[in-house]
Amino acid sequence: MSQIDEVLDIVAQKSMLDRSKLVPEAKLADLGISSLDTVELLCDVEDKLGIELPFNANTSGQDLRTLGDVIAAVEKQLAAKG
């Protein structure tokens, strides 16, 4: 399973939705993922992939709106990790 697959797995579990619904354009809010859910989801992703996702709910809340945003943030940290 690729690392992005693992991320999508976590999102699928959190949203309790089918993987087919998890498209990059999908807004987290539309997937039924609240701001509190987002914090927990990011923590699960960090634990699973061994990365740190810089995220402050006060400032980054605007940056992580869609599933695509989350994937981009993860890819950025994975690249930095090397």
Binding site: L36, L42, C43, N56, A57, N58, T59
Partner: protein, 392 residues
């Protein structure tokens, strides 16, 4: 007891001058050093306030509680006989109680080189009621004594409950307020995981605000009915005029405009006041994007046009978010504001945020006639409390 001062006079000076009580706190953690911003009380010497032999019985939070309560009691001029002591309550708010003790004991129990044993006083040190217990024991107060815990609203809930017990004649006077000391690595890591902490400073209502900063401390009041205070010629600082409470019943961490507005309205009704009578609001103002925007909307809903016509400042900008002690420290700020006709500032303000278009007294406090002030606490789980304070 506060980073701004360990007595009322110093606290007032720091508060009115816009002193910053927040600094970077460092902790050893897993072989490295980690840093978090926090409003810690530096140079606290418990022996200044507590009998040396009693210190070992108390977690730092209970030491703050006793230190503040002893000052309040001494300042009140009360000298209670046994019958009167039985009619005196001790009603104290705290969020988590003896968190420092909990962590110390876990390190001993669970770390690889820990002793596997804990200090014999671990249980009575960590219990949330330790503040109330030690105040009652130290001052000989033998009336109803207990602790109220509702996170950030603990202290206002404690003080509001005291108000009701006095009105119904259940007690004749009380020591009431809040105490908290949990600037520990565990607490800070917990809040870090919630992703709401600012990296450096607390900037309530400001553009580019980045979250909350934790604090610690205690503030205590002697509360009694007006006729009793006057009959004994007491020095009266202010009047606790009304109290409103509500629960949002919605989200665990996000506040709700309607719930908060309802608590504000209920507080005004209880005090028999209208929005036009309010001259200052000491806000919950944590510095998070969501609280400050929601609180602005709630103030507008409850106070109408008055909300943007009066100073609304957040003292958390100076002494951080003291959790279970927050409402008490902020009531101290409100009482002093009303008494001295001075609106304390919201410091670290960078500029206006359209979602928080209040008169926040940015960075510098100012003289302002205050007949009545509102004091807000909006806690996790949607627990709201508002206390009204008026001139004596």
């Amino acid at each position: 007891m506060s980073p701004l001062g360990q007595n009322v006079a110093d606290f007032q000076s720091g508060l009115f001058a816009g002193q910053n009580g927040i600094s970077m706190l460092t902790f050893p953690f897993r072989g490295k050093e980690v840093s978090f911003p926090g409003a810690a009380i530096k140079d606290f010497d418990p022996a200044q306030h507590i009998h040396p032999k009693k210190i070992t019985l108390m977690d730092r939070f209970a030491q703050f509680a006793v230190a503040a309560a002893s000052q309040a009691y001494a300042d009140s001029g009360l000298a209670l006989g046994p019958e009167e002591a039985m009619r005196t309550g001790t009603i104290i708010g705290t969020g988590v109680g003896g968190q420092g003790t909990v962590e110390e004991s876990y390190i001993k129990l669970f770390s690889a080189d820990g002793s596997g044993r804990v200090h014999p006083f671990t249980v009575p040190r960590l219990m949330a009621n330790a503040g109330a217990s030690h105040i009652s024991m130290t001052l000989g107060l033998t009336g109803p004594a207990f602790t109220v815990a509702s996170a950030c609203a603990s202290a206002l809930h404690a003080m509001g409950t005291t108000l009701h017990l006095l009105r119904t004649g259940f007690i004749d006077r009380a020591i009431t307020g809040g105490a908290e000391s949990c600037l520990t690595i565990g607490t800070l890591k917990g809040w870090e995981a919630l992703r709401v902490m600012a990296p450096d400073l607390c900037r309530p209502f400001s553009a580019n605000r980045a979250g909350l900063v934790l604090g610690e401390g205690a503030a205590m009041f002697v509360l009694e009915r007006e006729e009793d205070a006057k009959a004994r010629g007491a020095k009266i600082y202010a009047r606790f005029a009304g109290f409103g409470m509500s629960a949002d019943g919605k989200d665990l961490t996000s506040p709700d405009v309607d719930g908060a507005a309802r608590a504000l309205t209920l507080a005004l009704e209880d005090a028999g006041l209208a929005p036009k009578d309010i001259d200052y609001v000491n806000a919950h103002g944590t510095g998070t994007r969501i609280n400050d925007a929601t609180e602005t909307a709630a103030l507008k809903k409850a106070l109408g046009a008055r909300a943007t016509a009066i100073p609304v400042s957040s003292s958390k900008s100076m002494f951080g978010h003291a959790l279970g002690a927050a409402g008490a420290l902020e009531m101290m700020a409100s009482v002093l504001a009303v008494r001295e006709d001075f609106a304390p500032p919201t410091i670290n303000y960078l500029g206006a945020d359209p979602e928080c278009d209040l008169e926040v007294v940015p960075n510098v406090g100012r003289k302002h006639v205050i007949r009545a002030a509102l004091n807000n606490s909006f806690a996790f789980g949607g627990l709201n409390a508002v206390l009204v304070v008026t001139k004596a």
